[in-house]
């Protein structure tokens, strides 16, 4: 029983990280129908920002995790720049295929640019301890502080984000732009500004995910976002891409499947199961678990 609960908790922790990254994919897809392949690399940007700013935070007498603030700002800036410099001009002139290729190019650019910067380079660096070590035990189940922090922070971030999109004017504007750009313009919404804002939020979330990820796996390297990004993308598709609760659900499912497979089958089978589940779900529900077409009557 304690193994089961332990596995469940590890799955939730992993799942919350996937969910945070998946949210970035889904928000951007929702608003401009683009799979932002560079999104995984934003995690790397966040990771390195923290590597460089943790000493700064510690010097100021703040805990290491506060460096996430710098990472959020940096990732948001990189995300907004990507939209303004690469995606927006392509959207005006190109097709969705050119946009997709551009996204892959931005991903490659970020990875290779990072490697070329002397302070980063091709070799991994290891982050210092982010959350306090240790934890506590209840009924034979060990809870590390890192795990508790990850789950709690992700949950809070997701609730706040969901409320933001549902209850605030800006959030509603984002939903409108994602649904119908022309009608949004007629309502007086500045569509381009809303898209940039979406990039800022989605990219900022990847910085939070980077924090959680580094707390568990402190190694930071230039391609660290690839597999994590891919699985988060799978999570977004699984839940129904473009749908915010779908990304959260998809992320948790992927995390749990991975954790349970590792624990009860074999760690080498974990990714196999993740992608197998993706295929099965998509055969049964092509639009993802929460994806559905609201039939528009004409």
């Amino acid at each position: 029983m304690s193994t089961f609960i332990q596995t469940l908790i590890v799955g939730l922790r992993l799942g919350s990280i996937y969910a945070l990254v998946a949210l970035g994919y889904t928000m951007v897809y929702g608003i401009i129908r683009l799979i932002n392949f560079a999104h995984g690399d934003f995690i790397m940007v966040g990771g390195y920002t923290m590597i460089f700013t943790i000493p700064l935070a510690l010097a100021m007498g703040l805990p290491a995790w506060t460096s996430v603030v710098f990472a959020i700002l940096c990732c948001a800036l990189v995300g907004m720049t990507t939209e303004l410099v690469a995606y927006r001009p392509i959207r005006k002139k190109g097709t969705s295929m050119t946009a997709l290729i551009t996204a892959i190019a931005v991903s490659m650019l970020l990875e290779n640019l990072a490697q070329a910067i002397p302070a980063i380079g091709p070799n991994p660096v290891v982050a210092s301890q982010i959350f306090s070590t240790g934890g506590f035990s209840i009924a034979g189940v060990t809870m590390e502080w890192t795990t508790v922090s990850t789950i709690v922070i992700s949950a809070v971030v997701m609730v706040v984000l969901y409320q933001f999109t549902q209850k605030t004017k800006l959030g509603r504007a984002m939903r409108c732009v994602s649904e119908d750009k022309e009608a949004s313009i007629l309502m007086g919404i500045n569509v381009n500004r809303t898209i940039v804002l979406t990039f800022a939020i989605g990219s900022g979330l990847s910085a939070v995910a980077a924090l959680m990820y580094m707390a568990q796996y402190p190694k930071v390297y230039t391609t660290m976002g690839m597999m994590l990004g891919l699985k988060a993308f799978v999570a977004a598709v699984l839940g129904g891409i473009g749908i915010i609760p779908g990304a959260m659900l998809g992320g948790l499912i992927i995390g749990l499947v991975e954790s349970f497979t590792t624990s009860y089958v074999s760690s080498s089978m974990a990714d196999t199961f993740v992608f197998l589940i993706l295929i099965i779900v998509l055969i049964i529900k092509p639009a993802g678990i929460l994806g559905k077409n609201v039939g528009e009557k004409v």
Binding site: A183, L186, G188
Partner: protein
């Protein structure tokens, strides 16, 4: 109120609007009628800034709309009810209406306008929590119209409000348009249903492939032989 002068619009290489001039005076209900592809919707889209004009001027109370960002035009009191309703399907009825008041900051004013729209369209009040995508075509048309009224516009552009609706609903929608007209709102109406449009309009323009074929009072046009043959099925 609205003056379109010598407007030319291109879709790529296609010359869709060929030097059209239109005038809508304060408080008037003016119709643009004509066959599919005559350029009616293109004109409305250009007025709202959704499409760029090649040459020509669009003036609303003397202000040149083409020099403005499209999303700022609603601030001048010009609202657009687009063809095919374009309601936000995944938002509720009330959320849709509140989006109509996006540019307003005064919550009290928004609540008042919401009440005003519900008074015009009691059906929308009954369904305020329902997702707009699940409404019937007629209800969606009411919602799109109500949404456009949320800023108390001086002028409405209405694009094919009767499209795809049953004859009873068409009558209902036209009654609403007339009601809005009588309440003092200036309206530029685009309709394929020329008969109904002419019956409620003050003046009308007949469009044929990007040019104005005829213009005049709605009454005169509905009695014109050419119009009767081509558009009124008589």
């Amino acid at each position: 109120m609205l003056e379109v002068k010598d407007l030319n619009v291109f879709y790529g290489a296609i010359h869709a609007i060929k030097g059209i001039s239109i005038k809508v005076n304060d408080g008037e209900l003016v119709s643009l009628v004509g066959a599919n592809g005559a350029g009616k919707t293109t004109i409305l889209h250009t007025i709202s800034g959704l499409l760029p004009a090649a040459t020509g001027e669009i003036l609303l109370d003397g202000q040149n709309l083409q020099k403005m960002q499209a999303n700022k035009i609603i601030n001048l009191g010009l609202a657009h009810v687009p063809e095919g309703r374009h309601v936000f399907a995944r938002l509720t009825v009330e959320e849709n209406l509140r989006m109509g008041a996006y540019i307003l900051k005064d919550q009290k004013k928004i609540s008042e306008n919401l009440e005003m729209v519900y008074a015009h369209f009691p059906r929308l009040r009954e369904r305020y929590k329902q997702l707009a995508g699940t409404l019937s075509g007629g209800e969606q048309q009411m919602l799109a119209t109500g949404r456009a009224l949320m800023t108390n516009p001086k002028m409405l552009l209405m694009d094919e409000p009767s499209m795809g609706l049953s004859p009873i609903l068409v009558k209902e929608i036209f009654a609403i348009i007339q009601e809005l007209h009588e309440s003092g709102i200036t309206i530029l109406l685009v309709e394929q249903n020329a008969k109904m449009a002419l019956a409620i309009s003050d003046r009308a323009y007949v469009l044929e492939t990007g040019t104005i074929a005829m213009e005049g009072s709605a009454k005169a046009l509905s009695e014109d032989d050419r119009v009767r043959k081509a558009y009124l099925g008589a």
